[in-house]
């Protein structure tokens, strides 16, 4: 029996070894970049293999990079507003800008202030969307959803889910309290404790992407704070009643960007990958990736996408949305810790 097993192990290993010959590109990513539909065309065109590893939250991603050795990573996906943080710690390499024109981008989605530091460009935005309110319009009054007040009114107690990411949700709680995300510092944060705890008490669960989708789709909750098109778009075919809006207080704009990791041994290949993802075809695939959807930063993707896809993403309303949305809060280390502590308190009470 053991001999047989040994043989089968050797056979499996031999099989794996033969597939492992192509060059590798190591990418630290969010789950939307793991979609084979997105990666395969690039892998075939350049005869490489893109290895992906997901991470959660910028702090964890940066820790991961710091514990790695130079050359371990080639590219990474990072919140556009956090590029500065990564550059400050010497983790990103300058990004050559030839061939990476942002002329056809949504102007608000370029975020050059964040991706260019002291005149050097380190990252390019690729996808954006909103953290606002997602809801089941068959179960709630859509008119209520036009104001964040509804979540604190008591009317929807026990039917609310909170998206488990402290930055956007604290940003939204701030908007409700009249604090712009740019002003969200340690002092302002303390004033948010009470409304956050109240929101926590009114909610049924605090959940990641899938649990939130499940809860919305199965009717366990009717409202999700922190959600948006990225959460409801994939479920559109299944349940067209799932909808989202940006309330009068505003919403949060999330924008993810791509950067080359400092110390990479394959800067050309990394650049090629970034060029591919920001090309109209790559943008269209990324926008409708299996994990979550989002608006492509590059408007040229619109020529490649179907009208139906664009309708789901509400392509034509973007001008209005972009005008009303605010960027993620960018806390310093101390405020970030305070935010996470506050978030843990909310989870634990």
């Amino acid at each position: 029996m053991l001999i047989k097993q040994t043989c089968s192990v050797l056979a499996v290993m031999a099989g794996l070894a033969s597939t492992a010959q192509a060059e590798d590109l190591n990418a630290l990513i969010w789950c939307d970049h793991a979609d084979p539909e997105l990666l395969q065309p690039f892998e075939e065109a350049h005869d490489v293999r893109v290895n992906v590893k997901e991470y959660e939250g910028t702090a964890a991603g940066l820790t991961l990079l710091e514990q790695s050795r130079p050359g371990d990573w080639d590219v990474m996906v990072i919140d556009a507003v956090d590029v500065g943080r990564a550059v400050e710690r010497g983790l990103l390499a300058p990004l050559p800008t030839e061939g990476l024109s942002t002329d056809s981008y949504f102007p608000e989605a370029v975020l050059a202030d964040h991706t260019t530091i002291d005149g050097t460009t380190y990252a390019v935005t690729e996808k954006f969307g909103y953290n606002t309110i997602a809801y089941n319009k068959a179960a709630v009054d859509p008119a209520d959803m036009e104001s964040l007040d509804a979540l604190w009114s008591g009317k929807y107690d026990g039917r609310i889910a909170i998206y488990d990411y402290y930055l956007p949700v604290l940003g939204l709680v701030g908007l409700e309290a009249g604090v712009a995300t740019a002003d969200l510092d340690a002092a302002a944060l303390e004033t948010l404790r009470e409304p956050l705890m109240k929101l926590g008490a009114a909610s049924k669960q605090v959940s990641d992407v899938v649990s939130s989708q499940t809860a919305l789709a199965t009717g366990e909750v009717d409202v999700l704070i922190g959600g948006g098109e990225w959460l409801t778009a994939v479920l559109n075919a299944e349940n067209p009643d799932l909808d989202w809006t940006i309330p009068e207080e505003g919403g949060l704009l999330w924008a993810q960007s791509l950067a080359i990791v400092e110390g990479t041994e394959k800067p050309e290949l990394a650049l090629e990958f970034i060029k591919y993802v920001t090309s109209p075809e790559g943008q269209a695939r990324l926008a409708t990736s299996s994990c979550y959807w989002g608006m492509p930063a590059n408007q040229a993707a619109g020529d490649v996408m179907s009208d139906e896809q664009k309708a789901i993403l509400r392509w034509d309303d973007q001008a209005d949305y972009l005008a009303r949305a605010q960027l993620y809060p960018v806390p310093d280390a101390e405020t970030d810790t305070a935010m996470q502590d506050l978030w843990t308190d909310m989870l634990q009470n």
Binding site: G15, N26, C31, P36, N51, Y292
Partner: protein
């Protein structure tokens, strides 16, 4: 009493089997959501997972890690058990305690400790690192099973072989191993199962090449889908076939 017994048996079986049955049924769901109502049967999800490159690689990785790590754990455990059973030294109790100790520690702690040590000495997270972790958790298991299997009868047989001039490796290979076959098989089988199904060590100690539980976890996190049910059902089906086959061949003799 009798009726009560059977009612209890049925109730608990229903409780135990309920999630598995639900899992399997909704793996055939003809729709995007694996929850009631059942919308009709399809095999699409099975086709999807069988053509999923990442998933199939994870499956292969899991097989390799489980086979190799349980083999290493088995050999180390066998040597230690035979060694400790041979003579009673003053340090025996301490050594036995040390070897058993990892069994009383949460996997999460073992994973975290290894992660930090590997970071320090510059070993990248990989399947090898995961395999090392799995040997740590399975070594106590293999050792305990084999140590318990060496009774007085076995001890005297080993002693006789040594007295007759057999070399140590001959004693182990020709006398101890054949005598302990049921124990060796059980230990290997258990170790394999634990490694195959282990999540947290593999989650913290891998990077790109992941094992099946880690891949399933990222499937779970990236979208609700009957495909997850299909993977679970397939793993379940294959495991049950293997278990039943073993039950009918290997363990039948041992149990009677």
């Amino acid at each position: 009493m009798r009726i009560l017994s059977w009612a209890y048996l049925l109730a608990l079986f229903a409780f135990i089997l309920l999630p598995v049955v639900t899992l399997v049924i909704f793996s055939f769901q003809d729709g995007r959501l694996p929850v009631p109502p059942f919308k009709g049967a399809t095999l699409d999800w099975y086709r999807e997972i069988l053509t999923d490159r990442a998933l199939m690689e994870a499956l292969g990785n899991s097989l390799i890690v489980a086979l190799l790590s349980s083999l290493v754990a088995l050999v180390l455990g066998f040597l230690a058990a035979s060694g400790l059973a041979r003579v009673l030294l003053p340090g025996t109790v301490v050594m036995r305690g040390l070897l058993i100790a990892p069994m009383t520690v949460s996997y999460l702690i073992i994973a975290l400790g290894l992660l930090q040590m590997f970071n320090k000495v510059g070993i990248r997270p990989s399947l090898l690192a995961t395999g090392i972790g799995h040997v740590v958790i399975n070594l106590p298991l293999c050792f305990a099973i084999l140590y318990a299997a060496i009774g007085e009868h076995q001890k005297s047989a080993l002693k006789a072989a040594r007295d007759l001039g057999a070399k140590e490796w001959q004693v182990l290979w020709f006398v101890a191993a054949p005598m302990l076959t049921p124990g060796l098989a059980a230990a290997f089988f258990l170790a394999f199962t634990f490694s195959w199904d282990e999540f947290i060590i593999a989650f913290l100690l891998t990077r790109f090449d992941v094992t099946l539980p880690v891949e399933i976890w990222s499937m779970l996190r990236s979208g609700l889908s009957p495909a997850t049910n299909a993977v679970g059902s397939l793993v379940f089906l294959v495991s049950v076939i293997v278990v039943v086959a073993l039950e009918l061949t290997l363990f039948r003799k041992g149990s009677k």
